[in-house]
Amino acid sequence: MRRIVARMLVMVLALSWVLPSPAAPRKTHSVRPSGKPAARPSPSKSKLQSTSPKAPPEWTGVRLEPSVLTLPSRYATAQLVVLARHRDGRLVDVTAQAKFRTENPKVATVNEFGVVEPTGDGVAVVTATFAGLTARAKVTVQNFAAELRLSFANDVLPVLSKAGCNRTGCHGSPKGKNGFKLSLFASEPDWDYLALVKQNFMRRVNRVEPEKSLFLLKATAQIPHGGGERIKAGSLDYRLLLEWVRQGLPWGDEKQPQLLSVEVTPKEESLKVGEGRQLRVVARYSDQSVRDVTRLVHFVSTVPAVAEVDERGRVTARGYGESVLLAVYMGKVDIARVAVPQPLPPDAEKLFADFKPNNRIDELVLAKLRKLGIPPSPLTSDAEFIRRVYLDAIGTLPTPDEVRQFLSDTDPKKREKLVDALLQRPEFVDFWTMKWGDLLRVKRDFPIHLWDKGMWAFYRFIRTSLAQNKPYDQFVRELLLSEGSGYRDGVANFYRAVPEREPKTWAETVATVFMGVRIDCAKCHSHPYEPWTQNDHHGLAAFFAKVGVKDTPEWGEQIVFFRPDGTFRHTRTGEPVKPKFLGDSKPLELDGTDPRMAFVQWLTSPDNPYFARNIVNRIWFWLFGRGIVHEPDDFRLSNPPSNPELLDYLASELVKSGYNLRHIYRLVLTSRTYQTSSVANAWNRSEQALVHFARYPVRRLMAEQLLDAVSQVTEHPEKFPGLPLGFRAIQLPDSRVPSYFLELFGRPDRDIACECERKSETALQHALYLISGEQLERKVRDGQRIKRLLQASLSDDAIMDELWLAALSRFPTDEERQKVRAYLADRLKGAKDNANALREQAWQDVLWALLNTKEFLFNH
């Protein structure tokens, strides 16, 4: 396919010389903050624009990267990249269009993709020709004839990995395939060595006749292989594997260099749709050596709809937005960002200009939107804003009076004033106590088992902390260092509120909740895209090895205490594990002190890369329904923030403010970004617009918001078993207060500490419930609002005002008024002495309809 495209391009190029010249390309692209051009001419199209005999040649130069290189062994290869200089100064990747040639095939060859392979010792010049221009690279091949000892981990395993042998669906699956099991993504090289060389009576390898080695015959499909042909017989990879068998299957020696990191270039790139870019990846080793490993890297695009990447590292821009590309090599990962800006007509500029930053958040969001060519939606109306900010900040709908007052307020600062007022409301504490209750799993019974007393004590601790606006670092410190009775010292329930009260579960909980890191996978296997290994997981768990939990004579009561003799043992080796900070290479040597102290100090230090970022990202996620890192509890190199500068800024604000969470709420809620309409314009309909916050995402009200809203609008308070009438859903202490409504609409069970446990999708049962549920009908029928309004003998219009303000936080439109009037008239047609009853019913129908509109059910 690619070849066909390349050939077509060549034809276009050839043709273009005889076409008449259109106007010279406009240079409208300003230089962006990064100093890179926003877009470049594509090699094909700009050719069309350069045919005027007077114009200077379109391409003024071409060069090869790297221009000097050494292939230090007969199995080393290198990826060349051809960059052409456009006459306007920009560099364009033309690797796919260039013609490669070697001037000395006895030393090195080069294929159509620009990959250089050695053929003998010496020096060769490799050339690339594009648009009549030629660039040269000097290639030195060394040790071609030398018998370099191969290493299983550094040479063989990368080839098997690239061939896909150890993926989940193949021999990397938990059970292996057909009796042959490799560790997933080569996470355990020593196991893999045993599996390949020793297991099954050494049947998989054949030292006497290396070519007859079973694994080679299978991989090349010379004998039937479930996975088909993975490696071409005779290829460089094949020769390497064969040579390794010939050498006697060496594991490698102890002093062999260790892989330290991989590095992908370019790190950032801006492409137009259809344009391509060749990535290069080098690996760095402990002996300072550097190898080009592009050929053996596994490439992944996080948003293929924006940019695809093939197995050779060739990126192709497919759609507007930004994608992050991962280069994965032997457990090491590096990323490259590719921006594909949307071309916009001049009138779109107005949309950017309309976006007047309120604070630094907006500047950072706007910069990103400009870079990607995604114009933001306009400012929300006051009515939309008040409903949105009430729901997001305090989980509660505004009352008609509150809406009226806000709408009629003429103070230009009224939105800021409203935000400040909301942050002081008791409902703010209710609502965020609920959220923290989800995360910290405040739940009386299975599988958390705090029991009633512990559940209430923990609830009160969280509630009090939020009501005091306790600095966040202090809040976390208190949780992590807690000790005492679960019934009497609420905070100590932190260590009880997990399904298994043991170090590894605590470590996983702390990583998820306070660092946004999912380290659970690493307890069994290394993560394919992440540096986390079992050692990281265990090292973290070891910080909690000295936490003890014991029963007391009181039923269900437990004491959390410091247990000086506690140790955490490695699940595989049984050896005691020393505590180690996540990402550090060396474990900590601690004297007898509680290792939690060291951990908390590390966690809450201002330089901790996770702590502040995690919580500001969560707050952002809570207010936008989408994190800057998304999902919010999935921080990892391979899931980078959509706007890193924004995340860093918010984290620094949190630290500067003394970990004042309300400061962050305030910053976000008063930003122009938060106040952006959910109505799309012509250029921000895509998912990418939501990823970069060009418009406010529409979300269904969460279960508790919805139930409280229905109760409030109908004026029919919900009665929860065991709690007084008037207790609202956002005030419930745990997920075990029975409520069919809350269960149906996705209240989290609080079994796991993942934000994903709260469900906000819609389902058939929701529709059935809202249309014809008895509970909802009871609220509509018996609720006081309609009765009260009818008794007050208000006009139809006044009743409509009240209902619309209560449910939708706005006045009805003229069209809506007409429709309702017509409906009422219709229902009352031919009414006699039952007119009052019919009128009440008709108004109930109107209320019912309002409760079933998307405008009510969704936060928008």
Partner: protein, 459 residues
């Protein structure tokens, strides 16, 4: 193909996870495209032998010795006062309190060697009803939710219906999410005023008024015109459309037991369980792929025999009526009936004054009944020992039972389930290498056709 704990929704080649799992596992089994098409013809997740499952869930854990696995030769403090009676299949005997089931033993098979690790209700329920062991905090979807996910529903009716409510704790959708939750009838089908919430207008509201409200809603529901959330709002609209057509249309007649002749209703038994079974039959007939009938009260620590005297005859009447009715209507061959609880009960009776003839939790061996949908009748799979304490031969683990049912439905039980955290979770844990007794091939004739067996990867 890299997708592992990442939460990424697409694999690198742009396939959705489900596509990947389906196609991926197939190609890795070494199947060619031609095989794939043959497999489709056999019915990968679409048209297996069975179209539906009726799950009779006996929560609390019924005594296997006093129901399907009597031990008349065991010492008295094991066998208890109940006698074993012959069935219409020679060699199979069941409890004397199940005379009706005794007359139709040719229609069902008994598994007398069910076993798992947990004597606690919650965990045991999870294991049996999901066919999976919870892993850390991973709560698996129940079989009904998996079937709802894999098969969907052929009409407006919800794909997973629980009568009158789902099995406690884990009869739910687990991590699959709310749209696969069971639709609970939440009302007693034996009640003359039986009405399903949501499917009939609420009290005091006429159908005409529902129609009026629908029109009014359409007039006022205009947010979608202003806001770009098309995918989301399209889904909401389609749910509303389905809900209204359920409410105003004919599909809900499946719930109308008054359409059944009195003799039929009597045959099932005029009790909640009997009428629930009848309702289950009507729902399956109407195309619902998974129905749970929940009959509780089997946690007989105290006065086991007194308690069972109230329960077993009810079970006998309702279940036998269901089997015979399904058979008569030709539905049994495409409908799986499975009757099981979370575990059995201690074979040794506790005659202490505290329990007065009680039986406690027993997970080491217990029984299940399966019928229809490709399961042969008149057979016994596995055996417990002389006192009914342990598996004597051929253990059947809950995931073996689940996998067998999925196989008959044409659902690949080695598929990965979508998990919101991107965690690795398979429909059953077989691929993870758990202890297994294998599929119930003794009573699954389809698996004896080597070609078919190979196609579905049965071992």
């Amino acid at each position: 193909m890299l997708e592992f704990c990442t939460g990424m929704h697409k694999t690198c080649d742009g396939m959705t996870r489900r596509d990947f799992v389906r196609i991926g596992t197939l190609s890795l089994l070494g199947l060619t495209m031609a095989d794939l098409f043959r497999l489709k013809a056999y019915g990968q997740a679409k048209d297996g032998h069975a179209k539906a499952v009726i799950q009779i869930w006996l929560s609390g854990g019924p005594s296997h010795l006093d129901t399907f696995d009597p031990k008349p030769e065991a010492p008295e403090d094991y066998r208890g006062p109940l006698k074993a009676i012959e069935t219409n299949v020679s060699g199979i005997r069941i409890s004397e309190w199940m005379p009706r089931l005794a007359k139709c033993a040719d229609k069902y098979s008994l598994i007398r060697s069910m076993t798992h690790i947990s004597p606690a209700h919650e965990l045991a329920t999870h294991i049996v009803i999901t066919g999976n062991i919870p892993s850390g905090d991973l709560v698996f979807p129940s079989m009904g939710s998996v079937v709802a996910w894999a098969k969907g529903s052929p009409n407006e009716l919800p794909p997973y219906i629980a009568i009158p409510d789902p099995a406690p704790w884990y009869g739910e959708a687990g991590f699959l999410g709310a749209q696969y939750k069971p639709f609970s009838v939440r009302s007693d089908p034996n009640n003359p005023n039986f009405k399903v919430q949501g499917l009939t207008p609420p009290s005091g509201v006429t159908t005409e008024r529902i129609t009026n409200r629908r029109n009014l809603l359409q007039a006022l529901d205009n947010l979608a015109r202003r806001v770009e959330a098309s995918g989301l709002f399209d889904a909401v609209d389609s749910f509303y459309q389905r809900a209204f057509s359920l409410l105003l249309g004919d599909a809900k007649k499946a719930f109308d037991l008054s359409q059944e002749p009195n003799e039929v209703r009597d045959r099932y038994g005029r009790h909640t369980f009997g009428q629930s079974c009848l309702l289950a039959r009507r729902l399956v007939e109407a195309g619902v792929p998974f129905v749970t009938v929940h009959l509780g009260g089997w946690d007989t620590h105290f006065k086991n025999f007194d308690e069972l005297s109230k329960r077993v005859p009810i079970l006998d009447q309702g279940l036998s009526a269901l089997l015979e009715d399904l058979a008569q209507r030709g539905l049994l061959k495409e409908t799986i009936v499975v009757c099981v609880g979370e575990f059995g009960r201690t074979p040794k009776i506790d005659w202490s004054s505290q329990w007065q003839g009680g039986r406690h939790h027993w997970n080491h061996v217990f029984s299940a009944l399966v019928a229809g949908g490709g399961f042969e009748g008149g057979q016994v799979v596995g055996e417990s020992d002389e006192k009914g304490e342990f598996v004597k031969n051929r253990p059947v683990y809950p995931w073996d039972l689940a996998a067998s049912i999925y196989t008959l439905l044409g659902i690949d039980y080695n598929q990965r389930l979508p998990n919101p955290q991107g965690r690795v979770a398979y429909i059953t844990p077989h691929i993870m290498g758990v202890e297994s007794g294998g599929l119930l091939k003794e009573i699954m004739p389809a698996l004896r056709t080597p070609q078919v067996a190979q196609q579905i990867g049965a071992k």
